[in-house]
Symmetry: C2
Subunit: 370 residues, 2 copies
């Protein structure tokens, strides 16, 4: 088994777990936030910088790498780790979410999904088998099964069809996946319907994957609905397997997910808003490119010990962003990733001390007041 989780401690008052996830490229502590390196790079950063922010396990996108530079090229380079010079663990998504997001550019059949490239409009076909071929060529530590992600809102009939297909595709993925140094995770679907989530989970658990993604959440539904789904779903998930809440990464959702028993998260949010000049602070979000910070010579977040906050002022970072200087968005990116990794460390510490609910209250009170 190339990837397994060892639960070191369960928090007394919640479903939160402290764990160690073993992978072919090292052991990482959970709960963990995975920065996203869509095109074989966490945008603007070197691998060393990602590590300095506390990043240990990164996600990369199968859809993007398949189109450019191509999985065959990455295989020829010795795999994704070597290609991008990242020696820690990597998880690749399956491209499922990406191709379904293409809307009119894609057609779903039982066999797979036909889609057109967002880069040049060329036509492509993803089947579960094809996606396994790509993910095995990329060679991440964890590959995700090819799933059908239902949109929000969608009617129950559609959600049923998507979850049933997801199970059939999960079986095909499992059959096609042979790489011994890579784990294949199944993905639970079922929209916001708690009974469908339970059915999807039971069908996937029967296939005995070494870990499970929870997909199709944070796709536009109210957060309360997502929490309700997790409240109902998590008790039936196997205790001894990692649970990964896909595409979720706002500070409040990270805490709420951990409280409900999630071990892994990924999200483009911190890096995306950083490039737009917005940063997390202990006191909520701050849009550092705004005019009000032009002569503010204090750091982005005075409680932060990241490289950006230790060395640069809001005024300077605002100037860089207004002047289209790359260093500006490098600094906001470093800060946002550091902020979330710091949050995860605080969460893990709160689990160790059985005080996660108190920590949630403290954190959210200050963060939401900002």
């Amino acid at each position: 088994m190339p990837v397994k989780i060892e639960i070191k401690k369960k928090e007394k008052h919640t479903r939160a777990r402290l764990g160690e996830l073993t992978t072919p490229h090292g052991v990482v502590e959970t709960p963990i936030f995975m920065p996203v390196g869509t095109q074989a790079t966490v945008k603007t950063m070197t691998p060393e910088e990602v590590k300095q922010t506390g990043g240990r396990l990164i996600l990369s996108n199968t859809y993007h790498l398949y189109l450019r530079p191509g999985h065959d090229l990455i295989k020829e380079a010795g795999g994704l780790h070597q290609f991008m010079n990242w020696d820690g663990p990597i998880l690749t998504d399956s491209g499922g979410f990406q191709v379904f997001s293409l809307g009119p550019l894609r057609t779903i059949t039982e066999d797979g999904v036909e889609f057109r490239s967002h880069i040049d409009g060329s036509k492509h076909f993803f089947t579960p088998e094809k996606v396994m071929e790509i993910e095995q060529a990329l060679g991440a530590d964890i590959a995700m099964a090819f799933d059908e992600c239902a949109p929000y809102p969608c009617d129950k009939e559609y959600a049923v069809a998507a979850l049933e297909r997801t199970t059939r595709w999960a079986e095909r993925c499992k059959k096609a996946h042979t790489r011994k140094d890579q784990a294949l995770f199944g993905i639970v679907q079922g929209g916001v319907f708690t009974d469908l989530r339970e059915r999807s989970a039971r069908e996937l658990i029967a296939l005995d994957f070494p870990g499970y993604g929870i997909g199709g959440l944070s796709v536009g539904e109210p957060k309360e609905l997502m929490y309700e789904v997790l409240d109902n779903l998590m008790p039936i998930m196997p205790e001894d397997k990692p649970r990964y809440l896909m595409g979720v990464g706002s500070p409040d959702c990270l805490i709420e997910g951990v409280v409900r028993g999630i071990d892994m998260f990924d999200c483009v949010l911190p890096t995306r808003i950083a490039r737009n000049g917005t940063v997390f602070t202990r006191n909520g979000k701050l849009t550092v490119r705004n005019a009000e910070y032009a002569r503010d010579f204090s750091p982005m977040d005075k409680h932060c010990n990241c490289y950006a906050c230790q060395n640069y002022s809001r005024a300077y970072i605002r100037h860089l962003i207004k002047a289209d200087e790359i260093l500006g968005i490098r600094l906001t990116t470093i800060h946002n990733l550091h902020f979330l990794q710091d949050l995860m460390e605080n969460i893990r510490q709160a689990i160790r001390e059985d005080r996660l609910l108190a920590y949630r209250e403290e954190f959210l009170k200050v963060f939401n007041a900002g």
Copy 2:
């Protein structure tokens, strides 16, 4: 005297000098290449990265900083060093070259130059006194006098008028410059006319500046003409003052300038071509974004020990640039600056060993054959 040069050694067979330039922010070895940080940042880089490439003294642009974020704001931040977190020496140009380059957007009178901002079209007026106010507010170690840079080609009458005005403006700059922890350098003009260059130099030397820029070269004239101007000009420049060849930085011109007695250089070339996907190698320039490198898993320059060449392949860097990923141009920028700093170190070593002409031949034979 805040800035002075001590000549440690003269090369036996050329006019090349090995020196130590003392500034309020430390001592640097000459001949030196100064990376350009136009908008208070060497494009794409942190100060630490600039130092890792060997950069010790950087240039920043008065015209750009005056327009954005404004010299008053930078003064309020504690000066340019503190604003941008660079603790080494800085040189600011005078904006002369920039405003003259604005073409139809500027009008020259005896009092100064009226110009329109390239950012928002707003109207501004630079006089020698105004430029001194700005440069003193920025607080670099070395400020350059406000000069009139004649274009190439231009007739002798125009070149005479520009050099005469440059001398009168140099006097006004000297009078207006009072900051004790900043040196003010004069700028020699005179186009490609050797007699005018000599006249300009003698007039400025009479004003006794602590250092001299040589401006108005590398503005489109053949390189041979620039070398001829330097051959005639350098023998009359004071031995005990630094000589700075402005805006010059291609590898061959760096060597030829040093051979003729230049101590300081700056140029946007290495950083600009890097952002366009072109890098220097021992075997000449290489456009790493070209299709031919798509599956080339060797480093940009196999003889290079920069961070980029030690860790990444041509194929990966090409992928990043094609996919508009910022890490790509960060890596090409690191490499190009490292390449030029490495060249400067080799040049200094060749001066120490009295073998600069042999080094020039070796270097150019391989570089030009590439």
